[in-house]
Symmetry: C2
Subunit: 209 residues, 2 copies
């Protein structure tokens, strides 16, 4: 058995956050497919045995079963000594961006991308609402990245890995990546890191409906 | 000058999270009014001098300027020794619920309440979308609280304080609190804690448009 078991699925950028860390850290890991499209995360079994919050990813390691990508990334940084903070100031800065990611950057974009890019929804008031919110969050991250290689400055941390959850997903969302040049440059730097892989190359399950 | 200066406003349940901690901890604090309704958080001055992410709350303490309620609550728990974890397991459990709060529990409810309860928006596809998501998150927290006094069990922590951000706000949202009896019982316990105050009694600024 591998050191790490990751309950995940390809369409889930939140799963990708953890898979990307494990790749970049050179960890020995295996995936356990979660059939999200088939409704698995809504079953009583999943909620009682895997995750009461009904989400992926879930990471199993050393007898622990961890959920919430932010918790998992913080745990992995501490456990492996990689991509974590080197001071209390850095720890707060990392959490500041991981929280912003969960609240606004990944959150609105992921739902928009699922509706428009995966389910091929027509344009609705909800997709317009989500896109406006996602663009607002993208502008803040793009501005922050001007003049920086990574969120904390010169080296990548779990703040970058968290924010990177959905940015490599290929589905159209009506948001033009060219409007966010600092994010595009940051994505190119992430792709150059040893071990980087595209989400659809490392996560199990279908990549379309 | 007080020990803590909190940039905040009454309509902001995210501000209330920090104010509630300071109240429960018996801290010496003062508020700095943020004119959110007047557009202050969108100004260049606010984003360059107070918070690049354009949000409240922001806490000033000992020369530090902290944003993101989750970061601030974690900092206050460590600084004061109150309402924090007593083990690594508890620390992860607290962050698991603070992340769920930021992503789904506070997030959808706060936006719904601002549209329906504060701006008095008519029912739209967006308010229906937000309500469905908020109810899903409320169901998960309600189920978790069955048989527990607080999120971690017998004592209140910053996980409870984070989740409590908007639950005392009085505006109607089309969600019936009677559908969530465990949340209602938990709210009653929170109100019994020494120092508890209603958000509109301790935060500055208007409570309606």
């Amino acid at each position: 058995m591998s050191d790490y078991r990751l309950h995940c699925f390809a369409l889930s950028g939140n799963s990708y956050k953890v898979a990307l860390f494990l790749q970049l850290a050179g960890a020995d890991w295996e995936s356990v497919f979660v059939d999200y499209l088939g409704g698995e995360t809504h079953t009583d079994r999943y909620r009682s045995e895997v995750n009461e919050q009904g989400e992926a990813p879930v990471l199993e390691h050393n007898g622990l079963k961890l959920s919430q990508s932010g918790v998992i990334l913080d745990y992995l940084a501490k456990t492996t000594g990689q991509f974590g903070p080197t001071s209390d100031d850095e720890a707060r800065e990392i959490w500041r961006w991981m929280l912003f990611d969960n609240h606004k950057f990944t959150s609105y974009y992921a739902t928009l991308r699922f509706m428009v890019g995966v389910k091929k929804s027509e344009e609705t008031p909800v997709t317009a609402f989500l896109r406006e919110r996602a663009v607002g969050a993208y502008r803040i991250v793009d501005k922050h990245l001007v003049g920086k290689d990574f969120i904390l400055g010169s080296r990548p941390t779990i703040a970058d890995i968290s924010l990177a959850g959905y940015v490599f997903m290929p589905e159209p969302t009506g948001i033009e990546s060219s409007e966010f040049p600092a994010i595009e440059a940051w994505k190119a730097r992430l792709k150059q890191l040893p071990g980087w892989r595209h989400p659809y190359d490392i996560l199990p399950g279908p990549t379309s409906l």
